[in-house]
Symmetry: C2
Subunit: 107 residues, 2 copies
């Protein structure tokens, strides 16, 4: 097996998107900043994995985390400029899914 011949930047971008749940987390955050439990129930991910994904997306500079010391505590996750820049891509995926994914596909 050989090393890939692809552009490393593209490969990196794809590796972020092709990790399970990360795409959906980003998509969900495109509708605005929100807290942990909101994302959790919106996309149906478990706390264990959401915690992991948010941590990685923060490290990648795609998501930022802000703490509001209210009662009960509020921690909001939102997209950085880098994260928001994925909007056109998500739009294309919406278009493709509407045009090509049938209702039988979703069963």
């Amino acid at each position: 097996m050989q090393k890939s011949q692809l552009c490393p930047k593209f490969e990196k971008a794809m590796s972020i998107l092709s990790k399970r749940w990360t795409g959906l987390v980003i998509y969900q955050l495109l509708s605005g900043p929100q807290r942990f439990c909101t994302i959790e129930s919106a996309i149906g991910i478990s706390g264990r994995l959401l915690s992991d994904r948010l941590k990685h997306l923060e490290e990648e500079g795609i998501v930022k985390r802000e703490v509001y010391p209210e009662t009960p505590i509020r921690i909001e996750y939102s997209l950085t400029e880098k994260g928001l820049a994925l909007q056109p891509l998500m739009k294309e995926l919406e278009i493709w899914s509407q045009n090509w994914v049938t209702s039988e596909d979703t069963l």
Copy 2:
């Protein structure tokens, strides 16, 4: 944990793209029909997983497989219309990666 509130078609589309390697396989096939071993070395995937991914993409109607009984045998994989329709999305990912992925990110 609750069920997701997202559009099922979009979720399905994302599930295809967020399975490891599928995005790269589709991207690679955008440059034209090609055989198993070409894809294998171009993106650095193992035969075991490439076989699995091509089978699934065929089931999804994104990839088609054609056998040419030459010597040695030639089996070509190419994108269907549904697969080709992912080109704009891949273009957006290229743009994003060029704008936002740094060379340090790729280390």
